[in-house]
């Protein structure tokens, strides 16, 4: 296995309160690493520092051997978006309500490649099939779908440019138990097929133990074990 992500000595404060304190974390290629901990322990903040959504005070993040800047420029976001993608807890609020699913799925392709529209749509259709969603999905809007379907659309959008790392911030916490199982099975299959690496944030120990190769527990901004 080779190293994909290395976080060293990362610290971050919001005002006076230190939310991340000397975080060290290494993720190998193809690994599923679980990030556990109570609300407020810093899991999401760490995920956001890794994906460039937050800046941090000190420390470093290396991705695929490259040092990532502490503050992403627009160009950094665009470059890094091909390699790292993220899915969130509330899939409805992470999809633009005024775009059709076709536009939502084609947007990352449009920004990152010069594919003609019909080839973009063909790719999008392929991903929807892969996610077990009906073909008429493309012409509809986000509000027409259930939480589990939206989360699968969010995963399709995240993966359409074939990133190496998918950061999942509690993607199943808001879903029914049977739908949780669908999403977890899907993530395991995708790892198998695409060699995807996952950083999976969750708070259900049973689900993390089931899904992850390794679990890192955070407590009050520090890594407690792992």
């Amino acid at each position: 296995m080779t190293e994909l992500l290395r976080v060293s000595g990362l610290c971050k404060s919001f005002g006076d309160s230190r939310v991340l304190d000397d975080i060290h974390l290494v993720v190998q290629r193809g690994e599923i690493v679980g990030l556990a901990g109570e609300s407020g322990s810093g899991k999401s903040t760490l995920a956001r520092c890794i994906t460039g959504l937050h800046t941090y005070d000190s420390g470093s993040v290396h991705f695929d051997g490259r040092l990532l800047p502490r503050r992403f420029s627009a160009a950094d976001f665009r470059a890094q978006a091909r390699h790292v993608q993220m899915i969130f807890q509330d899939p409805l609020s992470s999809l633009n309500p005024r775009l059709t699913i076709a536009d939502i799925l084609c947007e990352p392709l449009r920004l990152n490649s010069a594919l003609p529209r019909d080839e973009q749509l063909a790719l999008a259709t392929g991903w929807l099939q892969r996610m077990g969603l009906p073909a008429d999905t493309l012409s509809r809007y986000p509000h027409a779908f259930s939480g589990g379907q939206l989360q699968r659309i969010g995963i399709a959008r995240a993966l359409i440019n074939q990133p190496q790392l998918l950061v999942c911030d509690e993607p199943i916490s808001a879903l029914d138990v049977s739908v949780q199982a669908q999403i977890v099975n899907l993530l395991l299959d995708l790892r198998e097929e695409l060699g995807l690496t996952l950083l999976f944030i969750g708070h259900d120990p049973a689900m993390l133990a089931y899904l992850c190769d390794r679990i890192v527990t955070m407590d009050k901004g520090r890594i407690a074990d792992g």
Partner: protein, 317 residues
């Protein structure tokens, strides 16, 4: 045997909608005894919350609610007003509290209005209830507003507010779904203590069978507005009879370490046109020819599974 605290026979709820009447609850029958926790389990859209709202008279006036019999503490229920002695806790505590009144004031309110406490006594009792729900610094917290509480603490305050109604029966509609696992456990523990201390009956609604495994006495599994299996929790967990119950259990990681999780494809049927026979047929891995044409009988054995698989040779073909 003593009559149960709550007895509902063939509860039926129909909700008008622009595109046809929704048959949200279809002949659901259940009982809750004093000090008992009955868990109502099922996916979203199976009628669990509507059942609780019907009992509390919280449905819109246009809803048609009927039952062959509905008795609560010996009194008729579903008579068009809020039933005394019943209180409800909702999924989102932030939406439960009025944001411009202090939490303490809102907990004290039912004590003053329903039970004639003076303002001073009601406030003191509110603090005591918060303390009982293990809210730290309860006296100070009572003067704070909902947005100053964390989710878990606010849900405990919401239970305190429900307890201020001095209920015999608590309806808890997914009260832990929005909470952390560790906080979830604390809330479940508190509910269990209230049950044994005050003989409080609890109707606990959830989609997670794993959550109620340790705390509920009995489980009623609900699908498409019907109760399709009901039995003691240990029986449901160890020997689930209905394929739907089996599917819910097979989706739990704690029960299926090292195996692929079973994920039930599709979603519950549209209750504007509920299927004529067994509503689960379309998704059932063990469906047989007559499942979609003839309603399965309700088995009178200990587990009451509503399924042809357990009906033996009662079928005509």
């Amino acid at each position: 045997m003593k009559a149960p605290l709550l007895q509902v026979d063939q509860l039926r709820v129909q909700l008008p909608s622009p595109r046809g009447t929704v048959h949200a609850v279809r002949d659901a029958s259940f009982t809750v005894a004093q000090g008992e926790m009955l868990a109502v389990v099922g996916e979203s859209g199976c009628g669990k919350s509507v059942t609780a709202q019907a009992l509390m008279n919280l449905l819109p006036p246009a809803a048609e609610v009927s039952a062959a019999a509905a008795l609560f503490d010996g009194q008729p229920l579903l008579v068009g007003h809020y039933p005394r002695g019943m209180a409800m806790v909702f999924q989102n505590p932030m939406a439960t509290f009025n944001p411009v009144l202090t939490v303490g004031y809102q907990i004290a309110e039912p004590l003053r209005v329903l039970h004639g406490y003076t303002r001073h006594d009601a406030e003191r009792e509110a603090v005591r209830l918060l303390e009982r729900m293990q809210v730290r610094d309860a006296a100070q917290k009572a003067h704070r507003y909902a947005h100053e509480f964390s989710g878990g603490m606010l849900q405990r305050a919401a239970i305190a507010m429900a307890l201020a109604c001095k209920p015999l029966l608590l309806l808890a509609d997914e009260p832990t779904t929005a909470l952390d696992v560790s906080t979830q456990h604390e809330v479940m523990q508190l509910l269990a203590e209230l049950r044994s201390e005050q003989q409080l009956g609890i109707l606990f609604i959830t989609h997670d069978l794993g959550l109620v495994e340790r705390h509920a006495n009995r489980v009623a599994v609900m699908y498409a507005g019907q109760i399709i299996e009901t039995a003691a929790t240990s029986n449901v967990i160890s020997t689930p009879q209905h394929p739907y119950t089996q599917a819910l259990l097979a989706a739990l990681p704690a029960h299926n370490r090292g195996k692929r999780l079973y994920s039930l494809e599709g979603s519950p049927p549209d209750l504007r046109q509920p299927p004529p026979a067994c509503a689960f047929t379309a998704r059932c891995p063990q469906a047989m020819a007559h499942c979609s044409t003839q309603s399965p009988p309700v088995m009178a054995d200990s587990q009451h599974a509503r399924c042809w698989l357990h009906a033996g040779d009662l079928c005509d073909d």
